[in-house]
């Protein structure tokens, strides 16, 4: 007896509606509104300037402002640098942890902790307890070597933000990549061993290609989230000094909720979306080309 699926299950399809409605209301429709606001001049704190349609002049103004171009560069540099370092560290650490030793499970559990610590706390702890030039671990170490402590947030704000992002996200990369390494069938490694492949060769030629899928997922997730970094910057450098460590999400926040320049902030948000899409597109193209090479 064959069950008639079309009759049986069609009736429950309506269950999809509520979630689609809520998700569309919160994420999709606002994006369209943002797009609309980006071609408007609307500064909430200046009622004398009336709300008016200005076409693409918000965009033109942004792209001719050097500090805004610098912010785009900051965003790109922050994202690419963090992801590169996370991938590298993630690979090294997961390869190291992918073995049996006493307490291996506890070591793995400890290492994952920073990923679950919220941005606000990670930023505050690093800013005060760790990097503070007078009372942080920073000063303790500097005193140990008899040198003046470095003012990380003041002098190397971008480096500091990238360092914190890397600290938070490397454990995530380790988590994903380690799962990949553990899923490599033992026979493959065994045959490599029988072929006399050295450890480096085994890693480069067998292990890394075998976890390409995992690397991809880690990089893509990392990309999406690191482009959005906000809390860390908010509690540590506040985007400063000047706009030295400001990224796109942070400048949207500043422009929208400090200067109340709705049109300009919306244009910035649209640029952020476009940048995200460009990044994802590049990544997909790269992945597709790679997999085509592998198939060939």
């Amino acid at each position: 007896m064959k069950v008639n699926r079309s009759k049986g299950y069609a009736r429950v399809d309506g269950l999809l509606l509520p979630s689609i409605v809520i998700v569309a209301l919160i994420t999709q429709i606002p994006i369209l509104v943002t797009l609309g606001l980006s071609v408007v001049r609307w500064i909430v704190v200046r009622p004398d300037l009336r709300v008016s349609f200005v076409g693409i002049s918000n965009y033109i103004q942004l792209f001719t402002t050097p500090s805004f171009l610098g912010i785009i560069v900051n965003t790109v540099v922050m994202t690419l640098a963090s992801i590169t370092v996370c991938t590298l560290f993630g690979l090294i650490i997961s390869l190291t942890l992918n073995r049996q030793f006493p307490g291996v499970n506890i070591a793995r559990i400890i290492l994952i902790a920073p990923f679950f610590v919220m941005d606000a706390v990670a930023g505050i702890v690093w800013k005060t307890l760790m990097l503070h030039p007078s009372f942080g671990i920073n000063s303790v170490i500097a005193n140990l070597f008899g040198v003046t402590p470095v003012d990380f947030l003041g002098h190397y704000p971008m480096f500091t933000v990238v360092m914190l992002v890397v600290w938070q996200w490397t454990p995530f990369f380790v988590l994903i990549l380690l799962a990949g390494l553990q899923s490599i069938p033992e026979e493959i490694l065994e045959s490599a061993r029988l072929d006399g492949a050295g450890w480096l060769r085994t890693i480069l030629r067998i292990k890394i290609p075998a976890i390409a899928n995992h690397i991809e997922v880690a990089v893509m997730t990392g990309l999406i989230f690191i482009l959005k970094v906000f809390g860390l910057i908010y509690v540590t450098t506040a985007g400063g000094p000047g706009t030295a460590s400001t990224n796109l999400p942070f400048i949207v926040f500043r422009t929208g909720f400090y200067r109340w320049d709705v049109g300009r902030a919306a244009a910035m948000a649209v640029i952020t979306v476009v940048l995200t899409l460009i990044f994802l597109n590049l990544l997909f193209t790269l992945v597709r080309r790679k997999s085509r090479e592998l198939e060939a």
């Binding site: 429950v12 994420t27 606002p30 920073p114 941005d119 706390v121 948000a269």
Partner: protein, 287 residues
């Protein structure tokens, strides 16, 4: 084992448990040291939370641990924020599951024309940065009186996390053979009872882990919380940020608050990490 090269004694020695354990520990020590060093900021925060302010700044290595900070902190302004965090997180998590679970069920077992398109639509919404929606959401919320309200935050977090529920749960449901459902159907079970009697028990582990992850995401969320709440519906991240600016010099108390704030997601994260990996990889591979 390439024991053949070694002499008899060495071979005997090597095969003993004690030797193996020694080698194991020697390999483990640097790895252990690294893991501890990596998490030092968290451990140090934990430690500082038991110091007096005088022991915290400048830092002293030796100190008499005290619970005073926790007593002070918990009798201060933290409680409403902690309460908000709990209520908003639990409600948004439960509602995201309530709506997201059936959605994933329909995508996997329903009779949609293009189930994958629906799935990818959900997935694509998670790619978009929060800044792209914040201004309209803020304005609409102001109009509706939803600014700085718990229900407003719950709604926002539902919109952000239903896609994650769909994404994760779909990967767990895909493991369940449709024949099971069909067999239940033949036995006269309705769709609804099949969902409760077959799907839910089989995917229970995955669903619980998804719930824990969503809990962590909402608990830790900063951007919406900072922009849409002030004093009435402020969550822990908002409290952290304001405490930092107002009383940032009291490091011991700051550490106590931080410890209280990170403990729930840390514990839940440790429980759910395996499912996180699995859900993500399945979502990608079976996509």
């Amino acid at each position: 084992m390439t024991d053949a090269r070694g002499g008899r004694t060495i071979r005997a020695l090597r095969s003993t448990r004690a030797w193996k354990r020694t080698v194991g520990v020697l390999v483990a020590l640097p790895i252990w040291a690294f893991c501890l060093a990596y998490c030092f900021p968290i451990l140090y925060m934990f430690m500082t939370s038991f110091k007096t302010e005088a022991d915290a700044v400048p830092p002293r290595l030796f100190f008499v641990p005290t619970l005073a900070n926790y007593a002070t902190v918990l009798s201060g302004g933290i409680l409403p924020y902690l309460y908000n965090s709990l209520i908003i997180t639990l409600a948004a998590m439960a509602l995201s599951l309530l709506l997201g679970l059936p959605a994933a069920y329909v995508i996997v077992f329903g009779k949609l024309k293009h189930p994958d398109s629906v799935y990818f639509w959900f997935l694509s919404t998670t790619l978009m940065p929060a800044v792209s929606v914040i201004i309209p959401v803020f304005m609409v919320f102001r109009g509706l009186g939803a600014l700085d309200s718990r229900w407003g935050m719950i709604l926002v977090y539902m919109g952000a996390n239903i896609p994650i529920v769909v994404w994760m749960v779909r990967s767990f449901l895909k493991d369940i053979p449709i024949e099971l459902l069909e067999a239940a159907e033949i036995d006269g079970a309705t769709r609804l009872s099949a969902f409760f009697r077959i799907i839910l028990p089989l995917a229970r582990g995955g669903i619980i882990s998804t719930a824990l992850l969503v809990f962590i995401f909402i608990w830790n969320e900063f951007f919406f919380a900072v922009n849409l709440t002030y004093v009435h519906a402020g969550t822990m991240p908002v409290f952290m940020a304001s405490y930092m600016t107002q009383e940032g010099l009291f490091w011991a108390k700051l550490s106590a608050i931080s410890t209280l704030t990170v403990l729930p997601p840390l514990i839940l994260g440790w429980i759910s990490q395996k499912a996180l990996v699995r859900g993500m990889m399945m979502g990608a591979v079976k996509g």
